[in-house]
Symmetry: C2
Subunit: 596 residues, 2 copies
């Protein structure tokens, strides 16, 4: 079994030095909370305890046992219900939620670090609060005052969980094909239909579950503009707030999946008898707009899962590489055998894992900081700038992190050699678990279409150009910094930024939408790689400042090395991606379906 | 469940047009066999029947059921023993083996195509004859006349199977650490020790199993020069050839693995009682030399597994993409929904799968053709040239094919979207099965060390330079060919060849062995990508010849497109790899073990 140790040191470095905790802490919204490095450290330490001592040991139990279907509904794996209780009692579910409904109102920049921990420790477990958070966000944004009062306190405390019911067998990436019906009946609706792939759609860890469901009212227009959003509680709620009758919504089966076995993926039947009682959220036919609000939140967090699993996979591989004795140093024919962490190719794999993890963490937390500024900054113009940056980067975080996360989990198996392929070792679980992350909450292709299509065209590339300029300035600054490391980082980042600028222009100039879509994933990966390099360069700058005052030499020297490795061995990928993008879609679109 | 359809059309194209069947058929060794396109087609059709009708349907059964340990030994999954019987009765086991001992003596160029089929159809099953072939090769090369007569006919017919017993818990990549002891006793030895990761180490599909085992004799020197090779049959053989006493060798457990569940991976105990009776093969202390002969053979075939699984994953993804209706064409807001094969990003994924599969197949079969020339050509100089080419390319085939194979299997999951993550769909099995291929028979790191270390330095890069020259000439020839496709292919291949030449020079010039090893996997991937591009360019040339005479337009047009896609979207990777290689090992080697 692989263990997990929360990377609180690196989290603090990133949050304090790169993601601008001080700036966020100074926002009026946080005036009453003493947000600063001290609070951060305390929160991270407490979260780390729960993650490492309670959640992480259940990760393998959950994988082996899985959630099980029973006549009484879905039974979570052993220990999950108790762990969930501890999670709720610790107040962790609501730490990022508004204090108005009982949340702790901590900035996203801190919440994000705890999210990373839950997902590293136990991704199956973490999915339950992840989906709940999306449901909370949808009600908070679009629910009535009454709905907010009725549901939010219990969902924010975690006493109840929320789910997202979007997919139907014919409606996956294309939600316009949703067919579930919602028939009005007095102050509520009756829902009829079947949803699939519903994460934690059913379980007994909480007395109630609040399903957010996309469905069509009788006279709704075709397509995306005819979809409304409904609250369908598992148990109806009496006027006094106590739980009433069981609603007509049931899990009919759970899927047998490659990974995240402990997260029940349910087929949900709505209205097998009289119809499931549902309450409309917000306006009729605006369901998809509301859903996208919660989906944005969920996409960011799925991106974090990419990082989280990659981090745990890295820790396991590193420990194995430090312990496993095999072979001798390069060139030595005799003498002591060494641990494999001394072998260059093992180091290369570990450095790929380590440096890309650090790049992802930095980028994620920086985006979380933007979220705080976009939400709470008193100046509307500054809010707007940061919201644009968040909107631009969410598909990058979702798409790039999860693709890289799988690569890293696979490298984790490779570092273990033959043992990596044996399930007992635990390295495979990370690969199996991570494999869903590029698929759910919008595939990488969907993220790429969002980035290269919608996001770039919405403002004719303005937000991306602003980002490119900012990244280019960091590369320029490195020109004044001393040392070979900084020179190498400057070269790598400079080339990457130029590639991204050129690719962006190509996308903006290309009128053939098929050609743009054909290379959109290359563009997303290019953007992610460069954004990661930008953050690594900033990390190197911060590390150099710390080294100048002699602070924590080993840690900050390693940061410089990691940033240099990223510049020398990861950023070069941008050269390939740019060529591929400029080659366009001709050979991608040429074959008929039969010629494949 | 995914089905399998043997790609006999493409196999024939490659074997006839690219791998030089005519040249091989003209060798005196094949004078008595009427080798040509007709025989090839007949063999492929018969093999395809067995693969698609018998072996492929068992692939999922094997995955779900797995091989099981019982008090009577290892029990294969249902249907495997019967399928093996059919395999043996069809004479498939020995089609590439020398006729001297009952094989059919067909060229490797044809045998290789059948190997691809067995592995596409059922990799777990195919591993049994794969290991047997390695054992046969070792005995054929190093066994005594008596040993050959006693074992080879039954192993070649498949009546008995052979295994390779190398790894011990402390001796994986580093076989010099082998500890199993072989104590002389009259005309034989008694072996004591434990071997792990022994593929098909125990089963009841055949009455006997012939274990080839690495062990140390009492006074053997330390390290690799003190290892001898032994034959340890499961049942001893009486003077009359009948089976005698059960030997003291037993499977004590089998591993619970990520994939290839139906291939029992055994822990083998030798000598738990009196010692396992073993017969030395060849000279004392030369075991590792002999083992490398059979390992070369096995490495080539594991490379084929990379291609084989990737091919099946592609077929499954293609079928799904042709069937699954989701969304509308890019830009269309209304109107008919389309199958996802019309979406540019799905096409990009399918083209990545298709074009790299074709590149791998062409390269593998071309190498198989070299093997025939290296073995059978009457001119020793020509034999030598081709052997050098084979030696150079085996680590490329093993390392690059298997890395790409995993990527393709993972793309196969991605094309299926949410369904890809559900085990019933079958796409995950391909990913799980393929994941071992970069590990066993020498990890990718070991292949890269072999290529960038041993193979390049053995002849100071002569064989690689000859290859680069030949590939450059193909790129030049494309300059005279008409059409945009050919121009694009020329550009892609030309750049790739230049990158490989430069990287090769860098490797040869760099004195720091750690630096070379640190970027050796990049070099291997660069070499593989360019070799694949070379074969795709040759395929495009052949296709253009065929198109000129109006032959099978759809197929040959698709070849051109596929080659162009490879040049435009795969070969650009070489630019990134070259930069990474030139950046060397500084940032890879800089951290202490503690700083990771």
């Amino acid at each position: 079994m692989t263990t997990y140790s929360a990377p609180t040191r690196d989290m603090q470095f990133v949050i304090n030095e790169l993601a601008g905790l001080a700036e966020v802490a100074a926002l009026p919204a946080f005036a009453e909370q003493e947000i600063g490095p001290g609070l951060l450290e305390a929160v991270l330490e407490e979260a780390a305890k729960l993650a490492t001592e309670v959640l992480a040991p259940l990760n393998k139990v959950g994988d082996i046992q899985g959630a099980r279907m029973s006549p009484q509904g879905v039974i979570p794996a052993d220990g999950f219900a108790e762990a969930y209780q501890q999670f709720v009692e610790g107040g962790w579910n609501g730490i990022g939620c508004s204090t108005e409904f009982g949340g702790q109102g901590l900035p996203e920049i801190i919440n994000t670090a705890t999210q990373e921990m839950w997902n590293s420790a136990n991704m199956s477990f973490a999915l339950c609060p992840l989906l709940n958070a999306g449901a909370i966000e949808a009600i908070r944004h679009a629910g009535s005052a009454e709905q907010k009062a009725l549901y939010l306190p219990k969902m924010i405390s975690g006493e109840w969980t929320g789910t997202m019911n979007l997919t139907e067998s014919q409606a996956g990436s294309d939600l316009s094909a949703v067919r579930t019906r919602a028939v009005p009946e007095g102050d509520h609706y009756r829902l009829f239909g079947q949803k699939i792939f519903i994460t934690w759609g059913e379980h007994n860890m909480t007395p109630n579950t609040v399903h957010l469901v996309l469905a069509r009212t009788p006279d709704a227009p075709e397509g995306v503009k005819g979809i409304s959003l409904f609250i369908v509680p598992k148990f109806l709620i009496n006027p006094d707030g106590s739980l009433g009758a069981r609603n007509d919504v049931n899990a009919v089966s759970i899927e047998h999946k490659l990974g995240i076995h402990a997260s029940p993926t349910c087929v949900m039947a709505f209205g097998d008898q009289d119809g499931a009682v549902g309450y409309r959220v917000g306006e009729e036919n605006k369901g998809l707009v509301y859903m996208f609000i919660m989906m944005n939140e969920a996409r960011f967090k799925v991106g974090l899962q990419g990082l989280a699993i990659a981090k745990r996979a890295y820790q396991a591989a590193r420990e194995y590489a430090r312990d496993r004795v095999q072979g001798r140093p390069v060139g030595a024919k005799s003498g002591e055998r060494v641990t494999i962490i001394h072998h260059p190719d093992v180091r290369r794999m570990l450095m790929l894992m380590k440096s890309q993890n650090e790049a992802m963490r930095a980028l994620a937390y920086v985006v979380a900081g933007y979220m705080d500024l976009a939400r709470y900054h008193p100046d509307a113009a500054i809010r707007k700038i940061h919201q644009a940056r968040v909107d631009l980067l969410i598909p990058v975080v979702k798409g790039w992190f999860t693709e890289i996360g799988i690569e890293i989990a696979s490298l984790g198996v490779q570092v273990h050699g033959g043992m990596g392929f044996i399930e007992e070792t635990g390295a495979c679980q990370h690969l199996r678990d991570s494999r869903i992350t590029t698929i759910y909450e919008g595939t990488t292709g969907i993220q790429a279409a969002d980035l290269a299509g919608r996001k770039l065209s919405m403002d004719q590339g303005a937000a991306m150009r602003a980002l490119i300029t900012e990244m280019g300035e960091v590369a320029e600054q490195l020109g004044q910094a001393p040392g070979d490391d900084m020179a190498a980082i400057r070269t790598g980042l400079g080339e990457g930024v130029r590639a991204l600028a050129e690719a962006t222009q190509w996308i903006l100039d290309t009128r053939d939408a098929n050609a743009v879509m054909a290379v959109s994933v290359d563009y997303l990966m290019l953007a992610g790689t460069v954004c990661g390099g930008w953050q690594m360069a900033r990390a190197a700058q911060a590390a150099q400042r710390k080294l100048r005052v002699g602070e924590d030499l080993l840690f900050h020297e390693a940061k410089l090395v990691s940033a240099r490795f990223y510049a020398e061995h990861v950023l070069p990928k941008t050269a390939a991606l740019l060529i591929s993008i400029r080659n366009g879609g001709v050979s991608i679109m040429a074959l008929t379906a039969e010629q494949f």
